[in-house]
């Protein structure tokens, strides 16, 4: 059944059913009333003759003390019948079962109404009759037969009806909630769970499908799912093709490059060259090394991008490894005429890939050197998160490290250079491949060759593969700090 029609009919049921129920209950009480009234009426008729003779006695209405007579009335009444006597003016002479035999006067209209008839009220059957003596009116009497059983029955049924009505109302309410839960809420929750699961890791179970709107929704969801899977499959395929292409091109480029390099090296070996010729040949070797570097970057970038590539790691002692990592840059810094300061203070064990971290370190050091003016400083540092932050770290970076040092447990790798700063807008894009921010940062650098433009992207991918992260902070008037975080291996 469609949920739309199901909802509409459930509304209808929820509205109409209580009304129908109410009608039925009222009807039940009424039918009891009619049945019982008939029986009671016949009973009263039978008793009436018996009381009439006694009450027609004229002595009861004369203004003398009739205590003896009245007490006989009391005996008759036995609580189920009330006798009320009036004089001809309507004053109550006596009434059994009540203390009101004062000078209360009943209205004449009431007294003369429905005489000689049995009149049912809610609690009694009343019978009124005038009393004559020698053709002269001397008073009235009224016999009230109490309908105790009937009143009791009606009350019981009334209570039962109210109870039944409330119960059935609640029953309908909970039944509808239960059905809504089964028909609407549960399938929706299941579907939402599936969607979250699919977004998270792409794996979902097959949901049971009914022929309603939820079923249609599930069908549409499954269609979207398979479409997305198709898309990601084809994306993966094209990515693989791209990687294959890059790998092939790299391979095809390297072979002629090897031929060029070996040819030139062979020429350099020859002794009859003059200095100028030798310089030119050395330049070719240098440029071919540079081309090799670019090809390597491109290949590494595509390898790191691949989902299949899992970085191999080994466990090492932190201090020993980071000392090695940041060592041997003095000559390089000297050639750039830049002052280099190194600081290592690490403890604990780290899971690393030596080659890739060296690549990251080389990339970041080269990046720092290329953007530092002659005579200025660069700082390289590695220190555990719970060690003191070195004084040379610029304020912006220091603030960040102070905040984050509490959260993370591992080592901070700092590559800081004096001089140029990077706007916060560019800081976010800096790690995108081939990002061209401030053109001055990308101009032909002082030692000739520009990088491939992939260096920082590669660094980012490497550190992320090792479970860390990289970011950059600039402090106006001071310079730029690259911060890498590498998590420590836990004791177990």
């Amino acid at each position: 059944m469609k949920i739309r029609s199901w909802l509409l009919s459930s509304y209808l049921v929820a509205m109409i059913l209580p009304i129908v129920l109410l009608y039925l209950l009222i009807h039940l009480v009424q039918s009891y009333d009619q049945e019982k009234e008939m029986l009671d009426y016949l009973d009263v008729q039978a008793k009436l003759d018996h009381y009439q003779d006694f009450l027609a006695n004229s002595r009861l209405y004369k203004e003398i003390d009739n205590k003896r007579e009245y007490s006989r009335l009391d005996d008759y009444s036995q609580k189920k019948v009330i006798f009320t006597l009036y004089d001809k003016e309507g004053f109550i002479l006596y009434s059994t079962g009540s203390e009101t035999n004062t000078l209360f006067k009943e209205k004449q209209e009431y007294l003369y109404q429905n005489l000689y008839e049995i009149n049912p009220t809610y609690t009694t059957f009343e019978y009124k009759s005038p009393v004559f003596e020698n053709g002269k009116l001397i008073g009235f009497y009224k016999i009230s037969f109490l309908r105790l059983e009937w009143v009791d029955g009606v009350d019981k049924r009334k209570n039962l009806s109210i109870f039944l009505y409330i119960t059935s109302f609640l029953l309908i309410y909970f039944l509808i909630i239960f059905l809504l839960q089964r028909k609407l809420f549960q399938p929706l929750i299941a579907l939402m769970y599936q969607m979250t699961q699919f977004a998270k890791d792409g794996k979902v179970n097959i949901l049971p499908k009914k022929k309603d709107e939820i079923g249609e929704l599930i069908t549409h969801f499954e269609m979207m799912q398979s479409e997305l899977e198709d898309k990601s499959r084809s994306l993966l395929l094209s990515q693989e093709q791209k990687q294959y292409m890059i790998a092939s091109i790299s391979h095809d480029l390297k072979t002629p490059l090897t031929a060029i390099r070996t040819s030139v090296e062979g020429l350099i070996e020859e002794k009859q060259l003059n200095a100028q010729q030798r310089d030119r040949l050395n330049m070719i070797v240098e440029k071919s090394d540079y081309i090799r570097h670019l090809i390597d970057d491109l290949t590494m970038y595509s390898i790191l991008q691949s989902n299949q590539y899992e970085i191999e790691t080994v466990l090492v002692d932190g201090q020993e490894f980071f000392e090695m990592l940041l060592s041997d840059y003095d000559q390089l810094a000297y050639s750039f005429q830049v002052c280099l300061l190194t600081h290592v203070d690490v403890h604990g064990t780290y899971s690393i890939n030596q080659k890739q971290l060296l690549r990251l370190c080389d990339n970041l050091v080269m990046n720092a050197l290329h953007h530092t003016e002659v005579g200025k400083k660069i700082w390289l540092s590695a220190f555990s998160t719970n060690n003191q932050i070195p004084d040379f770290v610029f304020s912006e970076a220091k603030q960040y490290l102070q905040k984050q040092g509490v959260i993370h447990s591992g080592t901070w790798l700092i590559f800081q250079n004096e001089g140029q700063t990077i706007s916060s807008k560019d800081q976010e894009k800096l790690f995108e491949p081939l990002f061209q921010g401030d053109p001055s940062r990308n101009k032909e650098t002082k030692l000739g060759n520009r990088g491939s433009g992939l260096g920082l992207s590669i660094a980012q991918m490497i550190i992320e593969k090792l479970g860390g992260f990289i970011l950059v902070r600039s402090t106006q008037g001071c310079g730029t700090t690259f911060i890498c975080f590498l998590p420590e291996m836990s004791e177990d």
Partner: protein
């Protein structure tokens, strides 16, 4: 055979299997200039035929070869002989390296390489192979490129003819590594060898001694000439020995 080789006049004979004409010719010319005897094969099959018909001290094999690929050729040669195998490849994947080394290759050079690099590798492997075959006299063992000399009897080591102020343990460490050149020792093994007792967890004695030894040898951790760190495994000696003659 090697035994027949007279010192100084017999040339090392090298099998070069490379399908790229220019590269092969350049390498051949270079090696011939450096006084090697070179046999050049252009396909894997041809390389295999040359190998079975001649006697070689070392083979340089390109991975991408027609008819029989470099891996198969390496495997085949390794079944028959112990000569050093040097793989050349333009492929980048780390897998290739591991696969090649598993199949019995001794070293791996990625294209494009420099002649200096090639020559250094060749020398290192040939010396080692000679030593392995018992070709060298005892004294040759302890002189290395870079000016390092070790005298086991006197328990002394020199660098550029200057005596190294080594402690007893440092000297033992250096000697153990040098006598087992290219063998990787874990920190635990070194500790047990030198201190003759079980290593306690979290002990960094070896790290400290290696560091001190390196600084006395003026050796770099990153680009070492003598003691190389194999991260996650241990240390090994990589000094290139020099013949006295």
């Amino acid at each position: 055979m090697l035994e027949e080789r007279e010192k100084g006049c017999m040339k090392y004979s090298i099998l070069l299997v490379e399908d790229d004409r220019e590269i092969a010719i350049n390498i051949r010319n270079f090696l011939v200039n450096k006084n090697f005897e070179v046999t050049w094969a252009t396909t894997g099959k041809e390389g295999w035929n040359d190998f079975t018909q001649g006697t070689y001290h070392l083979a340089i094999i390109d991975l991408m070869l027609p008819e029989m690929d470099g891996f198969t050729l390496c495997q085949n040669i390794r079944w028959k002989s112990d000569i050093p195998l040097l793989i050349l490849s333009a492929r980048h994947e780390e897998d290739d390296k591991v696969k090649g080394l598993k199949l019995g290759a001794d070293d791996y050079l990625t294209k494009p390489f420099s002649f200096r690099e090639l020559e250094a590798r060749l020398q290192s492997h040939l010396r080692r192979f000679d030593r392995y075959r018992g070709e060298q006299n005892q004294e040759d063992l302890y002189h290395y490129q870079g000016g390092l000399s070790i005298y086991p009897d006197k328990k002394m080591a020199y660098i550029q003819n200057l005596e190294l102020p080594l402690t007893v343990k440092e000297f033992s460490l250096l000697l153990l590594l040098a006598e087992n050149s290219h063998k990787t020792f874990s920190k635990k093994e070194l500790y047990e060898h030198i201190w003759d007792q079980e290593e306690v967890d979290g002990n960094n004695t070896i790290t400290v001694h290696i560091k001190s030894l390196r600084s006395k040898l003026n050796d770099s951790t990153k680009n070492p000439h003598f003691i190389q760190t194999i991260w996650g495994a241990g240390y090994r000696f990589i000094g290139v020995p020099i013949h006295e003659n």
